[in-house]
C-alpha cells in the first residue's frame, strides 16, 4: 500500500525508470545519495531503456491481500541493459517461457488498487520477449 503522498514522490522511477549512474559504474533505480561502492556523491541521471534479462525469478502462489487476486504470478530480479538491478512483477508471459537469462521488456501497468476507494498504484512490470 502506498498512500497518495508516498506514491507521488516515487513517480520518477516508477513511471519513467529514472535512474542514477555512479562513477564506479553502479546503476541504481532506487534513489540514492551516494555510490554504495565508492561513497562518491556525483552521479549522472539516466533513463533506463526498459530492456534487460532475468537473473532469477519465482512464481508466487501465496501472497499478501493486496496482490491476492493476481496469484499465481511471477516476480523476477532483472538486470537492465544499463546494469541496474530491478525487482519487477512479470506480466503477459506464460510461466513456461520464464528462464534465467530470458530477455524482458518493461511495460507500464497497474500494480494494485488500494481497495475500492483508495488510489490506483501504477508502475513497471516486465514481460518476456523473444
Amino acid at each position: 500500500m502506498a498512500n497518495s503522498q508516498r506514491y507521488t514522490r516515487e513517480i520518477p522511477h516508477r513511471y519513467r525508470l529514472e535512474a542514477q549512474k555512479f562513477p564506479s559504474g553502479f546503476v541504481s533505480l532506487s534513489r540514492r545519495y551516494c555510490d554504495p561502492i565508492s561513497g562518491k556523491k556525483e552521479f549522472e541521471k539516466i533513463n533506463l531503456k526498459g530492456t534487460g534479462k532475468i537473473l532469477t525469478y519465482t512464481i508466487i502462489h501465496v501472497t499478501s491481500d493486496q496482490f491476492k487476486l493476481l496469484t499465481p504470478y511471477a516476480v523476477a530480479i532483472i538486470e537492465t541493459d544499463e546494469g541496474a538491478r530491478v525487482t519487477a512483477m512479470i506480466t503477459d508471459t506464460k510461466f513456461e517461457d520464464l528462464k534465467i537469462g530470458a530477455r524482458v521488456e518493461f511495460v507500464f501497468r497497474k500494480i494494485m488498487e488500494e481497495g475500492a476507494s483508495g488510489i490506483i498504484n501504477y508502475g513497471y512490470k516486465a514481460k518476456v520477449v523473444e
Binding site: 513517480i11 513511471y15 519513467r16 533513463n47 491481500d65 493486496q66 491476492k68 487476486l69 493476481l70 512483477m89 506480466t91 503477459d92 506464460k94 511495460v107 507500464f108 501497468r109 497497474k110 500494480i111 481497495g115 475500492a116 488510489i119 490506483i120 501504477y122 512490470k125
Partner: protein
C-alpha cells in the same frame, strides 16, 4: 500541411471467444458469429486499464512520430472507462511519457466517440497555431453486463494520434461533426454496467448519426466514395459498419482493412480509430481514408485523411494493429477467468 505525424495502437493479449460467452448463457454461438459477425474479443489483463492501454498506444505513436515528447502541447484521452470517477487519466500518461508539465491535459467522455473527439480537439489546436504538436487518444476497457448482448462486443484497446505540421504521414483534409440528443445508451453514476435502448440504438442512433455525418462530409469535400481507398466506421458489431458504409456508397473492399471488429470486439472510444491505425499500417502514399465515428447520446465525428510519402518511413517503427490482434501470444480465457479479470464477481474487500 496539418495532420497525423505519429500513430500507435495497443490491444491486450487476452481474448474470449464469442462461443465461450454464448455457451455460458445458452445462446446459439452461430447467431453471434454469423449474425453479429463477432468471433472473439480482446480482454484487458488484470493489471490493465484505460490508462495503461492509452500509455501503451501513445508510446507506439511516439515511436512513429520521433519527436521530443516535451514538444507536445496538449494530451486528450477519450474513454468511457476512465479508472477514476474523479482524477484525470491523462496526468498519469504525461508523467509516464515525459510530456509536460507544460502541457494541457483533459479527459473526454462521449460513449464510443470520445477518442475521435480527442483527435478533433488535438488537430484543431495545431490548425489554430496554438501549439506545434497535440495528442488525441481513445482507449477503453468497456464492460457489458453479464448476459447482455453487449457482453459479446465490449472489449479493450486503444489508439493514439499525434498531430503536427512537420513530417505529416496523413494529412487531415476535412472534418465534420453531427450531434443530437439521443439517449440510446447510457450509464449512470455508480452503475457498473451501461444500459441501452435495444433496437433504438440502430436506426435512430447509430445509422442516423453515421449517415448524417458521412453524407455531410462527402458533400463538404466534394468527394465521392470511389475517391477513397479505405473507409472505416464505428464498429459496435460486425454488421452495422458494413451496412452503414454500403448505404453511403462504399464497397466491401474499401472497408475490409479497417474492419477489425470480428477479432477485436468493440473497443468503444478506441473502435473506429483503431480501425484507422490498421489502415495506416498498410496504406500507401496518396491513399485517401474516410472515417466516421459514433458515440451514443449521440454524435459522430468524420475525418478525411490523405496519406503522404512519409507513411512508408514510420509504418515499421511500432507494432502493427493486426499483428497485435493476431499475436501468437494470445491467451484465451474461460468464462470464469474472464469474470474474475473483469471483476464481474464480488470479491472480499481487504
Amino acid at each position: 500541411m496539418i495532420g497525423i505525424v505519429g500513430f500507435g495502437a495497443y490491444v491486450p493479449i487476452y481474448r474470449i471467444k464469442s462461443s465461450t460467452i454464448a455457451n455460458q448463457w445458452g445462446d446459439d454461438p452461430a447467431s453471434i458469429e454469423k449474425g453479429l459477425m463477432l468471433l472473439e474479443k480482446t480482454v484487458p489483463g488484470p493489471d490493465e486499464d484505460t490508462i495503461t492501454i492509452a500509455i501503451a498506444a501513445a508510446k507506439n505513436a511516439l515511436k512513429r512520430a520521433r519527436i521530443d515528447p516535451q514538444k507536445i502541447g496538449a494530451v486528450y484521452i477519450g474513454s468511457e472507462s476512465h479508472p477514476y470517477a474523479v482524477k484525470p487519466s491523462g496526468t498519469v500518461l504525461i508523467d509516464a511519457l515525459g510530456i509536460g508539465p507544460h502541457v494541457h491535459v483533459a479527459d473526454f467522455e462521449f460513449a464510443c466517440k470520445a477518442g475521435s473527439e480527442a483527435m478533433f480537439v488535438a488537430y484543431s489546436h495545431v490548425k489554430s497555431g496554438n501549439m506545434d504538436y497535440a495528442m488525441g487518444i481513445g482507449a477503453d476497457t468497456s464492460q457489458g453486463a453479464p448476459g447482455d448482448a453487449l457482453e459479446y462486443s465490449a472489449s479493450a484497446g486503444g489508439s493514439a494520434f499525434i498531430f503536427g505540421r512537420e513530417n505529416v504521414v496523413a494529412e487531415v483534409l476535412y472534418t465534420h461533426s453531427f450531434t443530437t440528443d439521443t439517449a440510446d445508451f447510457w450509464r449512470r453514476e455508480y452503475q457498473m454496467y451501461p444500459r441501452h435502448g435495444g433496437r433504438f440504438t440502430g436506426e435512430p442512433a447509430y445509422f442516423k448519426h453515421i449517415l448524417g455525418c458521412g453524407r455531410a462530409l462527402l458533400e463538404k469535400s466534394g468527394m465521392k466514395p470511389e475517391d477513397f481507398q479505405y473507409a472505416v466506421f464505428h464498429m459496435p458489431n460486425g454488421r452495422f459498419p458494413l451496412k452503414a458504409g454500403k448505404e453511403l456508397g462504399f464497397k466491401q473492399e474499401q472497408m475490409n482493412e479497417g474492419w477489425i471488429v470480428n477479432i477485436m470486439g468493440n473497443t468503444y472510444s478506441g473502435s473506429s480509430i483503431t480501425g484507422l491505425t490498421a489502415i495506416l499500417d498498410v496504406a500507401k502514399p496518396g491513399d485517401k481514408i474516410f472515417m466516421v465515428s459514433f458515440g451514443s447520446g449521440a454524435g459522430s465525428d468524420g475525418f478525411i485523411f490523405q496519406v503522404t510519402d512519409k507513411i512508408l518511413e514510420v509504418q515499421n517503427l511500432a507494432p502493427k494493429t493486426r499483428e497485435m490482434l493476431n499475436t501468437p501470444h494470445k491467451v484465451y480465457l474461460d468464462y470464469g477467468k474472464y469474470v474474475a479479470y473483469r471483476k464481474k464477481i464480488h470479491f472480499n474487500e481487504y
